[in-house]
Symmetry: C2
DNA sequence: AATATATCCTTCATTTTTCACTCGACAAAT
DNA sequence: ATTTGTCGAGTGAAAAATGAAGGATATATT
């Protein structure tokens, strides 16, 4: 796993710069300079700027899905709701561990390009699969399908907002931006929402839902 | 208020292209072509590509804040919670009416540039002001300040997710992407969350919050 | 009313800048 | 000695910006 240091340096530099300035906003020269390597190295390792992007993103998602699947399989003995909690925790954890790439990719995903569409069908479809089934199962039969979709989007929103509103988060969420602490607390916030939502789905307390 | 049609055409074209391909991903030629005007017109009206961006964004936010302030002042007779609901409704409404710019700006805001920072202090600070005070007031005294911040971020997240996960929304939220219908339904989803959250803040039902 | 003047808008041609990528030489490692 | 990695210079294309000139329209002057 110990790769060429230059290659790693390039990826690291690219992650940071893409995160700060976006893909098109960053030039290969910028990356090379930050990584303290020659510009040509980038072509050498990744063929092109686009190649570098694809390498980084693919890598990110492969590990991402692997991590999710792992948790998914390890939590078969838990109740559905606990299983979902575990998945959420794993996801936030992973994203926090790969903070810059997460922010960058999330932003880039909102564009309209071939690359994005490929990523979506290849990786995001799977992520969706793991979450959606279990979430819908938890919601039960009482709610309208329509409304369930909205709730699901709400959940997905919670899984990404820290990586989109990251400026707000930094400013608002006082002091402790230690990753571990953040994961713990934020997962808790989602958990509270989730428990309430599922409870509503079971017909308790919430009246006349659509 | 009836401005030069060419100028308007440029802004419209730019909004669409920035939305699809991002700021750096779009060339002024693309914009000029789509708007059916000469390339130099853009320099003429906005000095530069950057100038065009700033004009569009500034304009967007001026109106945005104006709309919020209007609602804010018109709802003084309502209870705090209803006032907040009104504000949320207004915000979603506005964003939906300026869909492409909203998506684009939201994405761009997650970058790290001087321009973004300026926008943040100039406009987003005010938006924050209107929402935060009232939201915190509603939450009461029981919750830890820390936790309130998280809840507030959760709220802000809900106000933007449709404009960041717009690909997901299009795919998932079945059929009806009619703006009016969407506003109505989505505001309802947020309302449910809000009512629950406020209720928890008052100490009902939710136990051992932090 | 007719002409002159100024202002606003558009176009074309050109320059300047930026950027991704290539090439061939050189060095290090195996 | 062959592979692997590094480097500087260079190329061509793309894109932004400029500037001068031409038209249109409105305003002012006689």
């Amino acid at each position: 796993m110990k790769q060429n240091p230059s290659k790693q340096k390039v990826i690291k530099a690219a992650s940071t710069l893409f995160f700060q300035k976006g893909f098109h906003g960053t030039s290969v020269r910028d990356i090379a300079e930050r990584a303290s390597v020659n510009v040509s190295s980038i072509s050498y390792y990744f063929n092109s700027k686009q190649g570098l992007l694809e390498y980084a993103v693919t890598n990110y998602y492969e590990n991402y899905l692997f991590t999710i699947e792992k948790t998914f399989n390890e939590t078969n003995l838990l109740t559905p709701i606990d299983k979902l909690h575990s998945l959420i925790s794993t996801i936030i954890q992973y994203k926090q561990n790969n903070y810059q790439l997460t922010c960058f990719i999330q932003r880039e995903l909102s564009l309209d390009s071939v690359f994005v569409r490929e990523m979506t069908v290849t990786y995001l479809a799977k992520e969706n699969f793991y979450l959606k089934n279990i979430f819908f199962e938890l919601l039960g039969e009482r709610l309208k399908n329509d409304y369930k979709q909205y709730l699901f989007m709400q959940l997905k929103g919670m899984l990404i907002t820290p990586y989109i509103l990251h400026n707000d988060w930094k400013n608002q969420v006082v002091g402790d931006y230690s990753h571990q602490l953040f994961v713990k607390k934020y997962v808790r916030v989602i958990k509270d929402w989730l428990d309430f939502t599922v409870m509503s789905g079971e017909g308790i307390k919430r009246k006349a839902v659509y």
